[in-house]
Symmetry: C2
Subunit: 384 residues, 2 copies
């Protein structure tokens, strides 16, 4: 990608309402744009990060044998009457009366819908255990939206639901999901801890939350629940066990704030100059910075490396803008792209520099060896 | 994937409200589940198809140089007041008053939001032309939802917006998008025609719609508009041209009904037994049908081929359910998976059959040659 043709608008100043470092840096680095209070557009580079996180979550969920589907955000209120939750939910749940005078809502969570699907389609112990999940946009009319995408009114979540024949099965499903969450957060470059939590309106008998380490006062990034038979009993969701007896499904549910991971990754990976993206979720892996595009040798060397990177399928951005070298360096550091290839005056000696952003370390490499060096670095990081 | 562990519930009968063949077959093949009137869950196999269509759309959009972002579904009404469209939109647009007493809406389209983003971030002819797009869930409170996912209240759309310096630029952007749409629909196995259309509440001076061929009375699958300066003038979205003069952006907008493509592909590819998926968007490429899993030779031959397919990264489903051969054949045809490998009595002679679903043609192949045959077939289809 060429920065001159891309849409990654950087800014020296953060918006006045930005309190946390992730909100400030996401705005300054051109990752998000505010559409309304608590409502953001993911600009192209921000969306690339969001999709990388989404794909890590999907990969690890699929590896556990969980099956992906997509439930609707729109839900009929009558399902929520069955569990009595319609009245328990506060004004943060968005409701409206539809054209046929039926009460509808935008589901902040999907226990009712998934239990309805399972009771209609699963009737035997032979189908169990099963874990179903989705990655879906959720809405919440927050009283006080803040911290950018951390406490926003529209966000991306992964929610999974496990169905087992008994408590022992639930313990296994729960343990497997806990382990998967650790893999996901580690893959996304987060440091986190696990703590016992209040189960709130989700209910159930036990829950734990994953909290990202950082300065932000919020950042629950995951919450896992042992629900037991609370929903299946209220909604009469039953299966026939191996003795021919009807039993309610024993359930668990497991949420991840996919968009929150993006902010949490910044809270844990930055310095005074900007973001230091983990390689796994960076918008681009490599940034090529020709210091002066009016110098033919510099420009041609940079373009050559750009073509090599594209040929190797390495995600690369080239800063071909007609900006001062100072602006380019500042924007490069702000963007947090893990590897910067700086092509400057030493191009005439066939040399360039590679900057490893997270260490701010510079390595001088001959131009012919740069692509190989980058490939080796990526391989090492992926194996480590 | 093993059918016994998967969630693809087939049914002999379609729901009573299903009028079109795609609605009937999507329900019977276990691709969708109705949550409320006009509101559907994509069950796992249905979701696989939806994502394949989404990825074809993304691939072709990226190839044109269009840049992906993600705008919010939630929009503040004040943006719609700027263009006067707040009052033009009918009751199909979902509105609500938020906790701070502001009128909010779920945007059925994003001209206002994208124009707001562009006016804040682009100020020079040097940034143009640019085409921005998103793939996003939209909501519509339909008076009469029908035809399953075709006229539903929640659906996936791709919407793109082009910004040019003048009319001539718009003509080029429009022509490029038209060509891209033809590639997308062809890649998804659709037959379609293009016709001049009414621009409705989107406005602008000229629009054309892509209509899929089939029996369904709806199935607009794409609509492209030359908007001109209608939105940019009303919202004062201007750039400085190469003579230093302020000018409004010249815009186009381009929509694709991503979920509608799924239904349209079925309307154009089925027979009396079920779906005949095009290879490009099928939930799985290969279905292995061991006719009798109690027969060791049949079972082991089928499992061996299953492992080979997985090793080759061919998307495969094995029907390891303990069902009658008649049910398995009926479900296999209903599912529409393009290639069925039938392992039956001839397994003792090391022979199996491959059924090409779209031709209902059977080919006898020795078991050792099956995987190679399938690989060649896929290669041929992808090159044709």
């Amino acid at each position: 990608m060429r920065w001159s043709k891309y849409f990654m608008p950087t800014a020296k100043e953060a918006p006045k309402d930005a309190e946390t470092i992730s909100h400030k840096l996401m705005s300054r680095a051109g990752l998000i744009d505010k559409t309304a209070s608590g409502v953001y557009t993911y600009l192209p580079a921000g969306y690339r990060v969001l999709r990388k996180v989404e794909n890590i979550v999907r990969r690890e969920m699929d590896r556990t044998g969980a099956i992906e589907l997509l439930m609707p955000a729109l839900q009929p209120a009558n399902l929520w009457q069955e569990t009595g939750r319609l009245n328990k939910m506060g004004p943060e749940m968005i409701r409206f009366i539809d054209r046929h005078n039926r009460l509808m809502l935008f589901g902040p969570t999907h226990e009712e819908v998934i239990t309805d699907i399972v009771r209609k389609n699963f009737n035997s112990w032979k189908h169990l255990p099963v874990t179903l999940y989705q990655i879906q946009t959720k809405f919440r009319d927050e009283m006080r939206p803040r911290f950018g995408i951390i406490r926003s009114r529209e966000f991306l979540m992964k929610d999974a639901y496990s169905f087992d024949v008994d408590e022992q099965g639930l313990e296994l499903s729960y343990a497997r999901m806990k382990e998967t969450y650790e893999k996901i957060f580690t893959s996304c470059g987060l440091k986190f801890c696990l703590q016992q939590a209040d189960s709130g309106v989700i209910g159930g008998k036990f829950s734990e939350e994953f909290v990202a380490q950082g300065e932000c006062p919020e950042l629950e990034i995951g919450h896992i629940f042992k629900l037991g038979t609370q929903y299946s009993e209220l909604m009469r969701a039953v299966f026939v066990d191996n003795n021919g007896k009807e039993k309610p499904f024993v359930m668990g549910c497991y949420g991840i704030g996919v968009s929150r991971i993006v902010a949490a990754a910044i809270e844990g990976n930055y310095d005074e100059k900007g973001i230091q993206w983990p390689l796994s979720i960076a918008p681009f892996v490599v940034l090529i910075v020709p210091t002066n595009i009016d110098n033919t040798q510099i420009k041609e060397s940079a373009e050559k490396i750009y073509r090599q990177m594209q040929h190797k399928d390495i995600e690369v951005l080239i800063d071909d803008r007609n900006e001062s070298v100072g602006s380019k360096f500042a924007d490069g550091d702000l963007s947090g792209i893990p590897l910067q290839i700086i092509i400057g005056k030493k191009a005439c000696e066939s040399k360039g520099e590679i900057k490893i952003r997270k260490e701010n370390r510079l390595v001088e490499v001959t131009i012919d060896n740069i692509t190989g060096w980058i490939e080796d670095y990526i391989k090492q990081q992926n194996n480590g």
